[in-house]
């Protein structure tokens, strides 16, 4: 039996219906057609499904859709500005609402990711992290990244991309 779920996604009120056992990740993908939220391990380890719930990162595979009733969720699509195209974020835009960085390749180019599966979760985790920690050390970035698996890069370039994004964002302020 499905029950109604009403929530705010990326600033827009959305409604759908879900069985109690449906995860928030599957609901976002299958019912709201927001397929930027990736489903990897389905037990909270890989971090690919990370979304922001009331601004804080959570695993969408470990939340039931019905638990999001009345809550505010941001997915990777919400970070993609109209001007920058998917995937966008502060990282890609280089801080602020407009692109402050002369490097439009952003995190995509900088991370040298090959398949991109992990990236939405990393970008959203980094979004909240850089909001709270505008001047992170490499050690802090590595600790933040420990919650997201990437099987392509070995992480080094992702750490560099986040450090660079932090610098660009600080300059933009």
């Amino acid at each position: 039996m499905k029950q109604a779920v009403r929530l705010v996604v990326n600033g827009q009120p959305r409604a759908g219906a879900a069985e109690a056992r449906t995860s928030l990740a599957d609901f976002l993908r299958d019912d709201l057609d927001l397929t930027g939220t990736h489903v990897g391990c389905e037990h909270g380890v890989c971090g690919a499904c990370t979304v922001l719930l009331e601004g804080e990162p959570v695993r969408a595979c470990l939340m039931l859709a019905v638990q999001a009733e009345g809550r505010s969720v941001m997915t990777i699509e919400g970070l993609a500005g109209a001007d920058s195209g998917f995937p966008g974020s502060r990282l890609e835009r280089g801080g602020g609402r407009r692109r402050a960085s002369p490097n439009p390749a952003g995190i995509h180019g900088q991370t040298r990711a090959a398949v991109w599966f992990c990236t939405p979760g990393i970008v959203l985790t980094a979004e909240a992290f850089l909001r709270d920690t505008p001047s992170p050390s490499h050690e802090e970035i590595r600790e933040m990244l420990a919650g997201n698996l990437c099987r392509c890069t070995g992480y080094h370039f992702i750490v560099e991309a986040i450090a660079e994004a932090a610098r660009v964002m600080r300059r933009a302020q």
Binding site: L53, V58, T125
Partner: protein, 289 residues
């Protein structure tokens, strides 16, 4: 995978939650943060007929400190407790920093972690180390369960099927107490192979007035290092005594089969962890003359 179907109850209060539990008993599971239960549902390792969701039970969302005891309601997220403890109880903050990752702690509750009873988890050992207890509530009453009486086996507590773990109580260390916390894990946030929490405080003469050791990942339940604690009381803290106490405490832990080669820490390794945490605790003792 996806969970098997279940009947879902969103409880709006602790009283409503225990009422549903009383009706369904063994068939029901309590859903708090879901960071341990939902993976088990997704893999169908757990197939409860009924889920009682307490995320809407606002009366369980509180942190209270009184008379040196910190009371943590069942809905307090680990991240909230971590932030609260950062200035006031650094041992608790440090232990929480190693529980999963930020995205896990934003959702996972401290009490849910305690109720799950994973012997490799940090918080049950911390509850033991801090002379803690939990409040188990059922329809018509509640009882206090000391940390030492809570854990029976891996993922098995002395909680009855119709009880919810409504609150955890941590005895905060006395002013000036030093603390140490160490674990061995393959990656930050991974389940620890083993770990140890230590507290140490001194009297006016610089002798040890209190010592606490709690181990995780060393057996089927968290283990208190009582044998080592007793060796230190009333004595001046010397490196040799801390080592002796660490060795004795590690002996109190039930050895697990296997060795470091299959991903477990040897007894010698546990002794080293205990010694390091005791040394760290001594270095942080505020009242050291």
């Amino acid at each position: 995978m996806k969970p098997a179907p279940f009947e879902y109850h969103a409880a709006r209060s602790a009283a409503e939650a225990v009422e549903v539990l009383a009706r369904h008993g063994d068939a029901a599971k309590v859903l708090a943060g879901g960071q341990s239960l939902v993976p088990m549902l997704n893999f169908r390792l757990a197939r409860p007929g009924v889920l009682v969701d307490i995320n809407g039970a606002a009366d369980l969302d509180y942190l209270r400190e009184a008379d040196g005891v910190l009371a943590v309601g069942a809905l307090v997220r680990q991240r909230k407790l971590e932030r609260w403890a950062a200035d006031r109880a650094p041992l608790i903050a440090e232990a929480l920093r190693l529980v999963g990752h930020v995205a896990i702690r934003n959702r996972g509750t401290a009490v849910g972690n305690l109720a799950h009873g994973d012997p490799a988890s940090e918080l049950p050992a911390l509850l033991l180390c801090l002379d803690g207890a939990v409040v188990a509530r059922r329809v018509g009453g509640e009882r206090l369960i000391a940390a030492a009486e809570l854990y029976l086996a891996p993922l098995t507590t002395s909680l009855a099927a119709d009880e919810i773990l409504a609150e955890a109580r941590f005895t905060l260390p006395p002013a000036g107490a030093g603390w140490g916390f160490a674990e061995v894990a393959r990656r930050h946030g991974d389940f620890a192979l083993a770990g140890c929490a230590a507290l140490l405080w001194l009297d006016g003469q610089g002798r040890i007035a209190g010592a606490r050791l709690g181990f995780f990942g060393v057996g089927s339940t968290p283990v208190r290092g009582s044998a080592g604690e007793g060796l230190l009381l009333g004595l001046e803290p010397t490196p040799a005594r801390l080592r002796e106490a660490a060795q004795a405490a590690r002996g109190g832990a039930v050895p697990r089969r296997g060795s470091a080669r299959d991903g477990r820490l040897s007894p010698a390794g546990r002794g080293v962890l205990a010694e390091r945490t005791l040394i760290a605790a001594l270095e942080r003792c505020g009242s050291r003359p």
